[in-house]
Symmetry: C3
Subunit: 284 residues, 3 copies
């Protein structure tokens, strides 16, 4: 991968704000490079499973801004983990949260989605491993998805965890696969094996490995070589206008809904049980 852009762009960005420090995070949570095709490769590297906590979400939000600011034509989102694209929202952000942080967490998740689903630049996901819940949301928000073959799965499985995917998660899925399939998948919390994901249209192509997934994303991006970028991006945002406007108009209510949700003792009880089970599993 050849570094085309000036150093200030290609090297890791400075820590964007105090929150990363606050969380005591030292290593960069993502890696952002621009290769010789002018395509930005944004790699999530919050090990082990790219759980989307506030810090990773803020890093993603800032990274999208950088890609936009540098007028990079396209961005491929992928993971540094060999088996997980992203495990979705970090459950620890929901377990007995500080109110301010919980608000920032959800609001930043909204921002990440608004910036990614509504990106002016071309977006594609090289899904090199499991992609449940929030991981699926990120990949569905891109314009193209190549997923590595293997025993991985992808889907909005929120209901299986007793959680409810907010309307904009649903909108994003209905933008990708038929309504009927979306209802079935959302209510059953279905995680699609790779071949089923292709069949239903949740992904566009199956890749042999991560490099192949990135190559397939680049082949998609290449389709726009002769398409004037402004016409392309206005057209994209026009067809995505409905879901974007819907969240923009209800951001506050959507945060309030999340705060109400995490404040529910039953939900906290469920999360505690889940965390205990995870800890038991980890001990073995």
């Amino acid at each position: 991968m050849y570094l085309l852009r000036p150093a200030a762009y290609n090297v890791r960005r400075i820590v964007p704000n105090g929150l990363r420090t606050m969380a005591g995070q030292a290593d960069p949570l993502t890696d952002l490079k621009v290769d010789n095709d002018g395509v930005a490769i944004l790699t999530m590297q919050r090990m082990p499973v790219n759980s989307l906590n506030l810090d990773l979400l803020q890093d993603l939000s800032n990274s999208f801004d950088e890609v936009a600011k540098n007028k990079t034509r396209a961005m491929i989102l992928t993971s540094a983990s060999p088996t997980v694209f992203s495990a979705g929202l970090d459950i620890m952000e929901m377990y007995k949260p500080d109110l301010k942080r919980a608000e920032a967490f959800w609001s930043t998740l909204q921002e990440v989605w608004l910036k990614l689903f509504g990106a002016n630049f071309i977006t594609a996901a090289a899904i090199n491993g499991h992609s449940p819940a929030g991981g699926c949301l990120l990949s569905m928000s891109c314009e193209y998805r190549a997923m590595v073959a293997g025993k991985y799965s992808i889907g909005l499985n929120e209901t299986a965890l007793g959680i409810i995917a907010p309307p904009w998660f649903m909108d994003t899925m209905c933008h990708t696969i038929p309504m009927r399939q979306a209802e079935l998948a959302l209510t059953t919390g279905k995680l699609f094996p790779v071949d089923e994901a292709l069949k239903v249209g949740l992904i566009d192509e199956i890749a042999t490995d991560k490099d192949d997934a990135i190559a397939k994303c680049k082949a998609f991006i290449k389709k726009f070589d002769r398409i004037p970028p402004l016409a392309r991006s206005i057209t994209k945002l026009s067809i995505r206008e409905g879901p974007l406007k819907r969240l923009q108009a209800t951001r506050k209510e959507d945060v309030a809904e999340f705060i109400k949700y995490v404040g529910n003792p039953k939900i906290q009880q469920g999360l505690e049980m889940y965390i205990q089970a995870m800890k038991q599993k980890a001990k073995k």
Copy 2:
């Protein structure tokens, strides 16, 4: 089928209101049992073809309430007829109707749909025979459809009878099959043979007989064994919110539209011709 619930629930309910008596109906119009899986089986038995008159609609509306009140996790809708799931709306409710009754008829049909399409519990249809018009609406309002193989058909064939399916019938179809297919089906009044219904997505599975259809519905219901019911139902209602809100906001206008329709002399003339033709056919 083992009766799990207390007698007050499993035996036939008392006649819910005066209207059933008014119509001179003695036999119960539906049978409602809960089996040992905790699944309610609601069998329409207004012979010979489960025409949806006011009485059957009120029975269905009450039955849905009972299923909800008893917190039964799931309901399978089927028919006692060997060849007909439901023939749809009873044309006699539209032919020279009493105004009050016509209003009650349409309003109850709205209620039946709002309760079934918007049910908190899991819903599935074991379609053991013909399922035109209102019969198709009932089955599409469920979350899953298994249809018995045979020379049966299913579809919203209203236009073929010179009738117009109201917007919420259309919404229900567009929630089930792609818009393009819905437009073709609705304008041509298409009744899909079983195999075509499967292909277009109007049904989910083909069953060998009624028992198999019920078994297939139960296999669908089993998918929710580990899904927290509240997360499931909120998710379902969220994705069905659009059509539900649309009718809720226009119930009065929708009843007025029906009253205007049945008050149209041309429509009455058409119905009279249709009824005469049926009578002639019956004589042969």
Copy 3:
């Protein structure tokens, strides 16, 4: 083709207004005949490629009115060109346009779409050649599409020309093919070869030649032989209500958007380059 209707209908209509004269157009831009099935065949014949300029659009708008006024049950739209259905909007209407004419041009395009997408009569397109951009819009606005096999293509390729398809173009495509496919097609400006167009659902059938395409359209129209026309048309308009209302509510803003667009020096520069390139190509 047998002329069933009175001469006043079957002969070419008088020039509908001053604008045709203004444009110095002498030959009729369309041919409208009603055959012995009561089906109107409307043939675009603005040679060589049926570019949709103001005159052809006004002719189409008037022709739709005539079909409606004469209560012809169905209309098939086709082209007199052996290789092009319609090349889409005439770029000369956008290049350094007179403001008044540009407003009339866009407003008439809106009218053509509102009348065709919202036609009471049955509509089908016999697509006998290339059908890009506006040509694709016209055919998608019909209820059925049979396309002649060959090296032709169809699609909304606006982005490829640096142009943005307005929301109602997009609505029309989303009414025809799945959202996911529409987004891919619209952003990449994809022109579908005939077989791919069939696969994605952009056309309904492949025909061997123009006569076969018309025959296939007639077979579609025949499906409505026993469907009461009023029920059919109300049902059609009901399912098409969303896109129709959306444009009706925003016609002025939509014209203003077009005027702003053609007033943009960059767009004019792009058009000039395109026109020069076409001229160079024509010289060779």
